[in-house]
Amino acid sequence: MDLLCTHSNLGANHNPTMNILVCISHVPDTTAKINFTADGTALDPAGVQFVINPYDEFGLTKALHVKEAQGGTITVINVGPATTEPTLRKALAIGADKAVRIDATPMDAITVAKELKNHISANSYDLIICGQESIDYNGQQVPAMLAALLEQPFANACVGLSLDNGTATATSEIDGGHATYKASLPMVIGGKKGLVEEKDLRIPNMRGIMSARTKPLEVVPATEGEGPTKPVSFEKPAGKAAVKMVDAENVDELVRLLHEEAKAI
């Protein structure tokens, strides 16, 4: 049973090997030009390069650090169509041990969270790391939904995580400061920069890329139906009017514009 294999060296030291799940979103690259289909109901993927969601990269590297410190297995998971597999392969190349793709084209976060919950309930994980948000729909929904569905502790905007003998200490950003939490594993993390430093982020090397080709990528059928929300349309934000340049010698004019025109002061 899972308890035996994940905690097999519990007696040997204080840090049992960890079975870690890292949730990976497949998103348009930050610098991509965003266009919508002619009917305005979806993203037009033409010419868009897709990448691992930047927030998830911090979680994946953190998982590698944990594995290197105390042993374990890292599974990466995505809920999406076959087009997301290159992103999962990249996560394998970075160092994850295996990948799972739940074969669905979800329209909302609750559907993603329920699919993830079904997988997690059937496989026991000690730690579940998500990025706090994905840079496509910017919902910040899946991690908290997942924790609520699993009835597991949750730390969002997590910028620091240490583990000791099945207990996690997590530091999270809160408005204007930080909070520090303690919880027994398993728990769900909504991670961001700080979980590891940006300079420590791993990128695939040639050996990783070669070995990723043979690592397992399991495709699991979807179990959930449609969720209660649906996108009606997408539009681009109204373009800004051309910038008004003010002479550097005339900052009084800027103050006047900010007061009279922008009503910002």
Binding site: T30, I34, I135, A144, F154, G176, G177, A248, A264
Partner: protein, 312 residues
């Protein structure tokens, strides 16, 4: 039926976003003839909420974590046809947790009042402010979490009934400590933000940035390179992987305007850019620009603003 609104306090005082949440709930409730029930902490002053439209105020001993509060709000949501939560750091965990617990359809990052109420449609930011989505929430208890400062405040005349209830809170997460900088304007809630980048040349030059922020009652912020090299703390980094802000006024000094930075600030209502390089990409996203040396422009701007404040 009622619209329930969660009203967050910090040490007994309300955030501006909390009043905005009550005003949001009032606007929504007015569209479909509902009442507004505000749920707040026992330690917070309930009376202020009626002035933004709370018809009924329930004070409970709020739990200390998002999951704990989500369980409490679920208990109170039996007769409710919609829920409003401000997208503060707490609200951004609370709203999705509550959605999962109750099955209520959720829109986060919402930037509009309801476009229609049956079914509920709202606009929300997507693709790091490069897109706006109109979303439909198709069930009987939609939950809206909005971006603070995106809706505005609408005071109304009204009197709210006050009720105290006991609702227990459970969460396996233990809060060991919280640290919030006092005496400074918190970045996510600031109405004005003064932000600086590598153009400042070194951390010793931030005095004038703080002075400018002080005159404006603004929070200070910085670009990613500046926090990465340790000139300023990570908590000041605004941009895609840092904090996202949408103040009324954002002043960027010596920041070129990389797309990752713009993703975190482009929702600001008025953007001023000061940069020595007339080709800096940030000027394209700005409302007002000055090509000039920060070391000359900022002190002049501080003086001009002081004179303006003294005269007004």
């Amino acid at each position: 039926m009622s619209i329930l609104v969660f009203v967050e306090d910090w040490n007994g005082a309300y955030k501006k976003a909390s009043f905005e949440a009550v005003a949001y709930a009032k606007s929504w409730a007015t569209m479909n003839g509902n009442r507004v029930i505000a749920v707040t902490n026992t330690s917070a002053p309930a009376g202020e909420l009626a002035g933004y439209g709370a018809d009924h105020i329930i004070q409970i001993g709020l739990g200390s974590t998002a999951m704990g509060i989500a369980g409490q709000l679920k208990e109170l949501s039996a007769e409710v046809s919609g829920i409003v939560i401000a997208g503060t750091s707490l609200g951004r965990s609370l709203a999705p947790a509550l959605s999962a617990l109750t099955g209520g359809a959720l829109s986060t990052n919402t930037i509009s009042l309801p476009l229609s109420v049956s079914p509920l449609q709202v606009k929300r930011g997507a693709f790091s402010s490069k897109g706006i989505e109109t979303i439909e929430l198709n069930n009987d208890m939609p939950i809206v979490s909005f971006v603070p400062n995106s809706i505005g405040l609408e005071p109304v005349a009204g009197e709210g009934n006050l009720e105290r209830r006991e609702v227990s809170s459970n969460d396996a997460l233990e809060v060991l400590s919280t640290e919030v900088a006092s005496g400074k304007v918190a970045l996510p809630e600031a109405e004005a933000v003064v932000s600086a980048g590598r153009g400042l040349k070194g951390p010793e030059n931030w005095g004038m940035i703080e002075e400018l922020a002080d005159v404006l009652g603004a929070a200070t912020a910085c670009s990613k390179p500046v926090s990465d090299i340790g000139w300023r703390p990570h908590s000041e980094h605004v941009g895609q992987t840092g904090i996202q802000v949408n103040p009324n006024l954002y002043i960027a000094i010596g920041i070129s305007g990389a797309i990752q930075h713009l993703a975190g600030v482009s929702a600001s209502k008025t953007i001023v850019v000061v940069n020595t390089d007339p080709e800096a990409p940030f000027f394209k996203a700005a409302d007002y620009g000055i090509v000039g040396d920060a070391f000359e422009v900022v002190p002049k701007l501080v003086n001009a603003l002081r004179a303006f404040k003294a005269a007004s």
